[in-house]
């Protein structure tokens, strides 16, 4: 029963939602609508599950003095502070329906003063590491690497106004060599062709995996090996 019931639910819901795409009439239309809402309700519970899991993993690390356990203290304290301040709407309009990020609220203050600068800083560091990696790793060792480098140069210059200034003087018959045009061509043809191929491959893989899940062939989500 522990295995059969989830399999039956997966089978029925899976086929019902596939049918809802092709059959716009009730009951499939109503099912599509309702299941989307149920999905969102479950997604909200996923937040609780995620938070609980974070506390469990880091709590365990702190208790057992695992590797870098002091950083886990920072994680847990930060998480609990934001949760308490947001849940009880400290400093803001009280009550369940009050705006958690109202002006003057502690949540907004912590978000603006701590989260925003930290996230901006972490992302900004990427620029420096990309430059350093470019210097050390981008080598024209092979023909393919050389083509990649040339394409990278064209895109780097083409994605700035300089690309237009450098080749604006080209006569009409040679406009295809105008850097912005070359940049657009690379993005619209070879890059897009590769992206499309990857997306179709991924989509076919998703269809295959979804069918295996719906038909009960793939049972890893139940916590055991598929039979």
């Amino acid at each position: 029963m522990k295995v059969q019931v989830p399999l039956v639910i997966t089978f029925i819901v899976g086929f019902a939602l596939i049918a809802a795409i092709f059959v716009p009439h009730d009951p499939f239309h109503a099912m599509d609508q309702n299941f989307s809402i149920y999905f969102d309700l479950i997604a909200v519970f996923a937040f609780i599950l995620g938070g609980g899991n974070l506390l469990k993993i880091h709590g365990n690390k702190i208790w057992k003095r695992g590797r870098d356990w002091k950083y886990s203290i920072v994680t847990v304290v930060g998480f609990l502070m934001m949760m308490i301040v947001g849940t009880f709407k400290l400093g803001g309009p009280p009550g369940l329906t009050g705006d958690v990020a109202a002006d003057g609220s502690w949540f907004k203050f912590m978000y603006d003063s701590i989260f925003v600068p930290l996230q901006s800083t972490m992302f900004s560091l990427l620029a420096f590491f990309v430059a350093s990696a470019s210097y050390r790793a981008f080598r024209a060792k092979t023909k393919e690497a050389t083509i990649l480098l040339i394409a990278a140069f064209i895109i780097l210059i083409g994605r700035t106004p300089l690309g237009h200034y450098l080749t604006a003087w080209l006569p009409q018959p040679l406009q295809f060599l105008h850097i912005p045009n070359l940049s657009n061509w690379i993005l619209s043809f070879p890059s897009m062709a590769g992206q499309r191929a990857i997306m179709i491959g991924i989509a076919l893989g998703i269809i295959s995996t979804s069918l295996k899940l719906i038909l009960g062939i793939e049972r890893s989500y139940l916590g055991g090996e598929g039979k």
């Binding site: 989307s36 999905f39 990020a101 990309v130 210097y135 024209a140 106004p161 237009h164 499309r196």
Partner: protein, 295 residues
């Protein structure tokens, strides 16, 4: 070369990465300090969004989804503000929402920088409304495609959704004339195309980081009517906006992406220079080793 003596190749090979970091920092700071600004031309993929907005009659409904956070705000925020500025100038009705939890603060920034600053006469609930964030990722988009009010029973401030004039004739996403998703990951533009634009036959435009833009080209132009790619895309839209509406020229935040193209251009050139120098050092070292082997 005599043993123990280092030549230029050895110096380049062993260059401390802090030198690279310093040069990148200077390449951004110096153009900012000296206000290095280039004129920007609008590309067809950005012009398509601009033309669509221009073609919408006043009163048309435009949904803007803030699916990004502070980390990508330097690229995404100018896009969102340019789109909002354009929509309000054309008397379109703006519906703000977010599928990312970090979206609402970016919406608040836009409200302060664009609506309160440039369009103080636009009324909340009549010309624009902020629906806020809801969890659910693509499930949310799927749900509001069919019934928006089942998910959004109130606005972001907790007021009942039907108390707003501009929500009375909105049942679901198909009532929108255009959906603009400003995003930087999952869920983002791709999910809006897959779960709203394509099934609902609703025009979708996107604004994404430069890194994500190439991944969305397969959807252009049929499923995605246009795409703002990175800071360049934002600058192109601002340039088109200022060209069509010169009253925006010279205002504090209406050309922020155009202003930032100077530092981006110089930084790109510095990176290109690093790659060239790195390759010169690599090939010089290879030739040196080949000569040493022959000898």
């Amino acid at each position: 070369m005599a043993k123990g003596k280092r030549d230029i190749v050895d110096i380049l090979k062993a260059m401390d990465r802090r030198v690279i970091f310093l040069l990148i920092a200077l390449s951004v700071i110096i153009p900012l300090v000296f206000h290095l600004v280039f004129s920007v031309r609008t590309s067809p993929i950005v012009q398509a969004i601009f033309d669509k907005m221009e073609s919408l009659p006043p009163g048309s409904k435009v949904l803007v989804s803030f699916d990004y956070g502070p980390s990508t705000a330097p690229e995404n925020q100018p896009m969102a503000e340019a789109i909002a500025r354009h929509a309000l100038q054309r008397d379109l009705k703006l519906y703000f929402m977010a599928v990312w939890a970090t979206g609402p603060p970016q919406t608040e920034l836009l409200i302060a920088d664009v609506i309160n600053a440039d369009f103080p006469k636009k009324a909340y609930g009549k010309d624009w409304i902020n629906l806020g964030f809801k969890a659910g990722n693509q499930g949310l988009i799927n749900a509001i495609l069919l019934d928006l009010k089942s998910m959004y029973t109130t606005d972001v401030h907790g007021a009942p959704i039907n108390s707003f004039e501009m929500m009375k004739d909105v049942q679901n996403l198909t009532d929108m004339a255009l959906i603009v998703c400003i995003g930087s990951g999952f869920p983002g533009v791709r999910e809006w195309v897959q779960f709203a634009g394509d099934p609902g036959d609703i025009p979708v435009a996107g604004g994404v980081t430069a890194v994500e833009a190439p991944l969305l080209y397969p959807y252009y132009p049929r499923q995605l009517l246009g795409l703002l790619g990175g800071l360049q895309g934002a600058a192109e839209y601002e340039a088109a906006l200022v060209k069509a509406y010169p009253q925006f020229k010279g205002r504090a935040n209406s050309e922020q992406a155009v202003q930032l193209m100077g530092p981006q251009t110089v930084a790109h050139l510095v990176i290109i220079a690093f790659v060239i120098v790195g390759n010169v050092a690599f090939f010089a070292e290879r030739r040196r080793l080949a000569r040493a082997k022959k000898a």
